[in-house]
Amino acid sequence: SQQGEEDPQALSIQEGENATMNCSYKTSINNLQWYRQNSGRGLVHLILIRSNEREKHSGRLRVTLDTSKKSSSLLITASRAADTASYFCAPANQAGTALIFGKGTTLSVSS
């Protein structure tokens, strides 16, 4: 199993601004997933992008995947205070046993 590395570690923005988080990984993948964790809670699945996809949208979320650079980005548009949370990427390949999560990006959105 391989771990994704999120960047930046922390991000503070104002409501209405866009937030971009990046993820890098080391080996080939079948898909890459993004999760959100509100303080002290379990993780919630946001979006899954397959290795043959380059971009995917879900509401205010936009995920891109560049397999040549082994990187992905998560864009949250028109952020809200409720988007305040930690965001984790999880690259998945068939050689692994389970998803491995990094330290995440902590996003703070102030009103």
Binding site: N30, G42, L43, L48, G102
Partner: protein, 114 residues
């Protein structure tokens, strides 16, 4: 919200006690997982199961043990709790046998050992 439950949500106990953290899911998922997470840190996989009577250790060594007697139930046990076990424990499940399936998480159990 996914149908995966963890009890208790918070537990404060003394050193040396035996504890069991409960995890149940009603989705009929074959794969289940236990993660350990310290505040602000990454999740560490400590146990997983492919199905009934299947348990494996994860990437992080843990003194805890697990069992999988029923599909819906995946309890974690610490025979003798120590302060170093203080952490948040997250249970998760996924539907298929593949690694890349979406995981559903419970709310977590925050354990404090005095």
């Amino acid at each position: 919200e996914a149908d995966i439950y963890q009890t208790p949500r918070y537990l404060v106990i003394g050193t040396g006690k035996k504890i069991t953290l409960e995890c149940s899911q009603t989705m009929g998922h074959d794969k289940m997982y236990w993660y350990q997470q310290d505040p602000g840190m990454e999740l560490h996989l400590i146990h997983y199961s492919y199905g009934v009577n299947s348990t494996e250790k994860g990437d992080l060594s843990s003194e805890s043990t697990v069992s999988r007697i029923r599909t819906e139930h995946f309890p974690l046990t610490l025979e003798s709790a120590r302060p170093s076990h203080t952490s948040q424990y997250l249970c998760a499940s996924s539907e298929g046998q593949g690694v890349g399936d979406e995981q559903f998480f419970g709310p977590g159990t925050r354990l404090t050992v005095l």
